[in-house]
Symmetry: C2
Subunit: 400 residues, 2 copies
Amino acid sequence: MPEPIMNDARTIYMDHAATTPVSPRVAEAMQPYFAERFGNASSMYRLAQDARAAIDDARERCARVLGARGSEIVFTSGGTESDNAALLGVALARRSDGNHIVTTQIEHHAVLHAAELLEELGFDVTYVAPDRDGIVAPEAVAEALRPETTLVSVMLANNEIGTIQPVAEIARRVRAHAAEGGRTVAIHTDAVQGPGALEIDVDVLGVDLLSLSAHKFNGPKGVGLLYIRRGTPFRPTQVGGAQERDRRAGTENTPGIVGMSVALEAAEAARPEAAAACAAMRDRLIAGITERVDGTRLNGDARRRLPNNVNVSFPGVEAEALLMGLDLAGIAASSGSACTAASLEPSHVLLAIGASESMARSSLRLSVSAGNTEEEVGYVIDTVAELVPKIRSMAGARRS
Amino acid sequence: MPEPIMNDARTIYMDHAATTPVSPRVAEAMQPYFAERFGNASSMYRLAQDARAAIDDARERCARVLGARGSEIVFTSGGTESDNAALLGVALARRSDGNHIVTTQIEHHAVLHAAELLEELGFDVTYVAPDRDGIVAPEAVAEALRPETTLVSVMLANNEIGTIQPVAEIARRVRAHAAEGGRTVAIHTDAVQGPGALEIDVDVLGVDLLSLSAHKFNGPKGVGLLYIRRGTPFRPTQVGGAQERDRRAGTENTPGIVGMSVALEAAEAARPEAAAACAAMRDRLIAGITERVDGTRLNGDARRRLPNNVNVSFPGVEAEALLMGLDLAGIAASSGSACTAASLEPSHVLLAIGASESMARSSLRLSVSAGNTEEEVGYVIDTVAELVPKIRSMAGARRS
């Protein structure tokens, strides 16, 4: 195995799609709100108004990045809550308009399982299939619409295979179709993988709801947001106090909210350079691994994918063995979603794009950041190229 | 007005029921999990296992304080989510057993509005009235039970008036009644105001579900827990990844969870002394204010109340004017729940114990901690005694 270029204190971290560290400037911005400006932002006195002002400011900052109004931003506990709230909130609010929603087979489970909860509550859900490249065709979404459809949810970029969906085109088709019927259909996108990589302007995307999770872009864990376009019917599902203009109850997580706003601005400011740097590493990883490992299959479209996402399958290789070998070599990577890493099920995303069960179980996801180096990329290629044949020969030996 | 004993840097903070600052030892415990041990706890590599181990440890620590098993603890984003999940999770899971739940008129809105959401979904809810002292009688809860009742939710201590409910006795009555009918009824308590003040052992209380919120006991905002007794039917309502043994989806908030566990242990360890110190200040505040302000009415039972809670009404005084005066004098206090501080509605708790609308609008809640001083208590009594007659005479002048 190649000599690792990291020491004990340093893992080569290539799982940025799973989570990212809080950046120093984010940590610094959060700091005063733990013990000093700790007041409950909903209280009336001056101590609390410090927190309120910080949250108002954070709301405006997040809104600006999204091209939205501050009043359209609802702070949540993360991407999962945002996705759940988008689906349940709109479907329940529009129940009298119709009981059908449309989503896709390759959404994050936060969307898919919310859709299943809606099915339990009497709603109908259509799960549109992607093509073999992991792209959802706008026509396929439009064809799934019914007169009783109230919501369409299509993710901006897939968390496993990185494919970028034509959300703006889907939104145009859906709106045109709905307008013909004299109806409206709300459009949600899970943009959790977007910040720092893709444009996430809500008007450019043409969406009515959009989910983000701070820890995916060097913000803290446990905080996210849901953009809800003004006028979109929404029935809150986390209920209690009147926080977030009655759209999401619970004492405001001031440090988390402040941290997210700083992280989102930083991700957006760094986006052009970071995306280019990541794309170069991505392409080198894909080319290097494909060249050096027989039978490598790239999962998802080669071009319409996140600049930082590599997802490849190696026939005859159990992902678990490969990940363990990479871990021992100091490389943190995954086979797909961290949310289901402990599960024994093959990836629903890989199955949806036509992978066999065994191919779906042999996937490696590498997700880089601009902080990764060319040296690290080279080491990862070398290590994968060395490990895969070893695992194959061991598996072959076991079979014989 | 008495000379303030604080300076610009120091508010006399008497709103600990609303929120509390993160303690230094909690902040220190959280620190490594933001940027160093930042791995996604659900990932498989070593970097992530640091986070996983920290969360497992935090789970055991929290469980020990509650007299529970680690596997019975579900980490959430706070008290509101915990309360919502308890009601929806059990009611939906047991829908085929019955569509009726029982709660009380004085619960936090996180329980009441979750109950209303269940009503929208076709459930029946009975809201038991408290007595004039703000105590819910076990007989009243038992009488509300029906053959189709699946869940009873009664808070441990009221967040506005501090009254402690006979949860253990209620649980006994409910279990006995259910057993007669050969059924089971799950029992939930919102114990958000409990830590550091009351015993919160789930077996002593006899409850199946219990909600906590970290920021109420010097832990961070944005994290809480829901205890779910083994075997209790529960349908998760925050859905997506397989985190928290499939009971609550979403990337684990490692620093928040670690911080909560340290805060909970500290609150429990300090409880006997802190409760005694608070009770002494509470009783001096009540006696001093009652003695010096004509017509002071204590809201809630004088003895069966949280050691740190004072809630008094002053006829003829708008709470808003009093709170503003207190704020100017450097005292942070509230009229009731922070979650509804901005609302113009009178307190549902005060109305439920028989207060008139005007009395309900004239309430002052002071909630102390062991960190408050006798000097501060004296200053608060002096300030209230000076402000109330002033506000009354100004109101009188406006009327004449």
